[in-house]
C-alpha cells in the first residue's frame, strides 16, 4: 500500500516535472524562434550593408587601378611625344645653323637690327653676332649710322644682340632668342602633326 502511494507520488512528480520541462522547452523554443524572426530583418540589413560596403570597396579599388593605369599610359605617351618633338626641333636647328648665309639672309639681319634699334629707341648701338655672321652683319651696319660691330663674338645660331652704347639696354634678336620666344607655339605646331592638341 505504502509502496503504491509512493509510486503514485513519484509518477505525479515525474509527470509534473516532465510537463514543466516540456513547457520550458516549448517557451524557450518559441522565444528563440521569435528572436530568430526578429533578427532576420537585422541580419538582412547587416547583409545588405556588408554587400554595399564590399561594392564600395571594390569600386574604390577599381578607380585606383584604372586611375593609375590611365596616368601611367598618359605619361608614357607624353614622354614619347616630347621625344619626337625634340627630334624635330634639333633637326630644324641643325638646318638653320647650316643655312646658306647669302641671298636673303642679309635682309633678315637688316630687319633684325632695325627691329632692335626701334625697340631700344636709339641708333647709338653696339651689335654682337657669331663668327659665321660677322661679315654679313658688318656689311649691313654700313646702313646704320651710329652703329658699330662689337669685337666680341657670341655663341648663337645666327642673328644679332644689340646693345645701347651706354650699356644700359640690350635687345637679344638672335635666332635662338626668337625660337625661345616662340617655342611653346612651335611645340604645339609640331605636336599637332602627331595628332595631339588638334
Amino acid at each position: 500500500m505504502a509502496n503504491s502511494a509512493l509510486e503514485t507520488t513519484i509518477s505525479k512528480i515525474l509527470e509534473q516535472t516532465e510537463k514543466s520541462v516540456i513547457s520550458n522547452v516549448e517557451s524557450a523554443l518559441n522565444e528563440s524562434l521569435k528572436t530568430l524572426d526578429d533578427s532576420v530583418p537585422k541580419l538582412e540589413q547587416e547583409y545588405d550593408k556588408i554587400l554595399a560596403d564590399g561594392k564600395k570597396e571594390a569600386d574604390k579599388i577599381e578607380k585606383q587601378i584604372m586611375g593609375s593605369a590611365d596616368i601611367e599610359a598618359r605619361n608614357k605617351q607624353l614622354m614619347a611625344l616630347e621625344d619626337a618633338v625634340d627630334k624635330v626641333f634639333s633637326k630644324a636647328l641643325d638646318q638653320i645653323a647650316n643655312a646658306d648665309r647669302s641671298g636673303d639672309y642679309s635682309n633678315l639681319i637688316k630687319t633684325m637690327i632695325e627691329e632692335a634699334t626701334q625697340i631700344l629707341g636709339t641708333s647709338e648701338i653696339s651689335v654682337s653676332t657669331n663668327a659665321k655672321d660677322k661679315d654679313v652683319v658688318q656689311s649691313t651696319l654700313s646702313q646704320f649710322s651710329g652703329a658699330e660691330l662689337s669685337s666680341d663674338t657670341i655663341d648663337c645660331l645666327g642673328g644679332v644682340v644689340v646693345k645701347s652704347k651706354d650699356g644700359a639696354m640690350t635687345f637679344d634678336n638672335t635666332i635662338d632668342a626668337r625660337i625661345e620666344r616662340l617655342k611653346p607655339l612651335i611645340r604645339k605646331e609640331i605636336a599637332s602633326k602627331f595628332g595631339v592638341g588638334e
Binding site: K60, Q64, I65, G67, G167, A191, G197
Partner: protein, 461 residues
C-alpha cells in the same frame, strides 16, 4: 603692355626685400612679366608692380637672395604672366608658378591665358544651385556645397584641415549628371610632407587623373605664393568655361598667401592696415575669391573651397574676417572637437552655407533634407546648452528630455560628425544618420519637420 618686349635693362637702382627697382626704363607696363638674370645666368621670374619716372618696381617671385645691383639684368618680356592650358594639364603636378613638378615635359598648350583672369560679368553670372557631394557627412548634410559657390574652411594651426582638404579632393563628385568633374588643388606654403601627402593621396585613390595640383611648399620663396592661387584659378576657368567641366578649386592655406602679400606691402613701404596687412587686402582677396561661379550659356562651373588657418584661432583676424565678407558662408573647424579626437572637427553652430537652401531638396538631394538638417542643428544647439547645464548641476539634476538631448549630442559627434578619412558617404547614408539622431528624440520634440517625412523616416528607439 609694351608694344615690343624683350629689352633687357642692366641699371638696377635698388634691391629691397622681394623687390628690384630698375632704372632708366621706358615702355614697361603694369603687371608685365620680367625675367631677372643673376650674375650666374640663373633666370628668375617677376612682374612689374609700378612704373613711372623712368623707374620700374619689379616683384621677383623666386626671391632676391643672391642678387646684386652690379650684376643683375632685368628683361621686360612684353607680356603678362600666362599659364599654358589644355586638357593635358589634368593629372599633372606643377609648382607654385605653374611649371611642371612631376618630371614630365611642359603640357602642349591649347591656349596661353593671362593668370589674372578676366572678371566675370555680373550680369552673366548664373545663380548656383546644383549640389556637390563631398562624401563628408557634415558638409553634405548640414553645410552643403553648391556648384559655383565659394565656401571657405576656417581652421587653426595644427588642425586637420589638410586631411579634410585631401578627402574632399578625392571624393568630391557631382551626382545626377554625366558632366565631367575636375579638382584643381593649390597648396600654398605648405610643408613638404603635406605636399607629398596631397600628391600621394590623389595618386593612390586614382583621383589624380581628374585633378591638377599646384604645390608651393614652405621652403619655396614666399612671393611665389602670390601667383599660386592665380595660376590654379586660370586652369580652373579654362577647364570650366572652355571645356565645360565642373571644377572644384581647393586653395590651402590662404593665410600664407596673405602673409606674402604683407611682405610685399612692407617692402613697398605702404601704410599698413590691421595687423600690418595692406589696406587693400580685401580687394586683393576678392580678385581671387570672385573667380568662382557659373556663367549663363556656359556648361561648367568653378567652385572654390579656400582654406585658411586663423592665427590664434581668432575668427576676427583680418584674413578670416575679410574672407567672410566675400564668400558665401564658412565651415569652421573647432579646437574643442579637434582635441576630443573628432574628425572632421567641424563646429556646425558657427558654420553656414548661404547657398545650401538652393542646392538641396527634391530633385537635388532629397525632399526632407532641409528640414532634417534644421532639426538636427536645433537639437545639437540644445544639446550644447544641456551639456553646459550639466556642468553646473550635474547629470542628476537634468530632466529626462535633457538627457535625451545629451544623447543626441553624443550620437551627433560620434556617428555623424566623426568619419574615417577614407570614408565616402553617399547623401542617402548621410540623411539616414541624421534621421537616426532625430529618432533619439520623442516625436513631440520634432517641430521643424513635416509630419509626412516623420511618418516616413522616423524610427523610434
Amino acid at each position: 603692355m609694351t608694344a615690343e618686349g624683350g629689352v633687357q635693362y642692366s641699371k638696377i637702382a635698388e634691391i629691397k626685400g622681394p623687390l628690384v627697382i630698375v632704372d632708366d626704363v621706358e615702355n614697361a607696363a603694369f603687371d608685365e612679366l620680367v625675367e631677372v638674370e643673376t650674375k650666374d645666368g640663373e633666370r628668375r621670374l617677376g612682374k612689374v608692380l609700378e612704373v613711372g619716372n623712368g623707374k620700374a618696381i619689379v616683384q621677383v617671385f623666386e626671391g632676391t637672395t643672391g642678387l646684386s645691383i652690379a650684376a643683375t639684368n632685368a628683361k621686360f618680356v612684353g607680356k603678362v604672366m600666362e599659364m599654358p592650358v589644355s586638357r593635358e594639364v589634368l593629372g599633372r603636378v606643377f609648382d607654385g608658378l605653374g611649371r611642371p613638378k612631376d618630371g614630365l615635359p611642359d603640357p602642349i598648350a591649347d591656349k596661353f591665358i593671362d593668370i589674372n583672369g578676366e572678371p566675370m560679368n555680373p550680369e552673366q553670372r548664373e545663380y548656383p544651385k546644383d549640389f556637390i557631394q563631398t562624401g563628408v557627412s557634415v558638409i553634405d548634410g548640414m553645410i552643403t556645397l553648391v556648384r559655383g559657390q565659394k565656401l571657405p574652411i576656417f581652421s587653426g594651426s595644427g588642425m586637420s584641415h589638410n586631411l579634410l582638404a585631401a578627402q574632399i579632393a578625392r571624393q568630391a563628385s557631382v551626382i545626377g549628371t554625366q558632366d565631367d568633374f575636375a579638382v584643381v588643388f593649390a597648396a600654398i606654403g605648405v610643408q613638404y610632407s603635406e605636399a607629398e601627402y596631397f600628391r600621394r593621396s590623389l595618386e593612390e585613390s586614382g583621383a589624380l587623373k581628374r585633378s591638377v595640383l599646384f604645390l608651393n611648399t614652405a621652403d619655396d620663396p614666399a612671393i611665389e605664393r602670390i601667383i599660386t592661387p592665380r595660376v590654379a584659378l586660370t586652369v580652373a576657368e579654362y577647364l570650366a568655361f572652355e571645356l565645360g567641366m565642373h571644377v572644384l578649386v581647393i586653395l590651402t592655406d590662404m593665410t600664407n598667401y596673405a602673409e606674402a602679400l604683407r611682405e610685399i606691402s612692407a617692402a613697398r613701404e605702404e601704410v599698413p592696415g590691421r595687423k600690418g596687412y595692406p589696406g587693400y587686402l580685401y580687394t586683393d582677396l576678392s580678385t581671387i575669391y570672385e573667380r568662382a561661379g557659373k556663367l549663363n550659356g556656359k556648361k561648367g562651373s568653378v567652385t572654390q573651397v579656400p582654406i585658411l588657418s586663423m592665427p590664434s584661432d581668432d575668427i576676427t583676424h583680418p584674413i578670416p574676417d575679410l574672407t567672410g565678407y566675400i564668400t558665401e558662408g564658412q565651415i569652421v573647424l573647432g579646437r574643442d572637437l579637434f582635441r576630443q579626437g573628432v574628425y572632421p572637427p567641424v563646429n556646425i553652430l558657427m558654420s553656414l552655407s548661404r547657398l545650401m537652401k538652393d542646392g538641396i531638396g527634391e530633385g537635388s538631394t532629397r525632399a526632407d533634407h532641409g528640414e532634417i538638417s534644421n532639426q538636427v542643428y536645433d537639437a545639437y544647439s540644445r544639446a550644447q546648452e544641456v551639456r553646459a547645464l550639466a556642468g553646473i548641476v550635474g547629470k542628476a539634476g537634468l530632466t529626462e528630455i535633457d538627457l535625451k538631448y545629451m544623447d543626441v549630442g553624443d550620437v551627433f559627434e560620434n556617428e555623424f560628425l566623426s568619419q574615417a578619412t577614407d570614408e565616402n558617404r553617399t547623401i542617402e547614408e548621410t540623411l539616414g544618420i541624421l534621421w537616426k539622431i532625430v529618432s533619439k528624440l520623442p516625436k513631440n520634440e520634432i517641430t521643424k519637420i513635416k509630419d509626412k517625412y516623420v511618418e516616413q523616416y522616423y524610427k523610434e528607439e
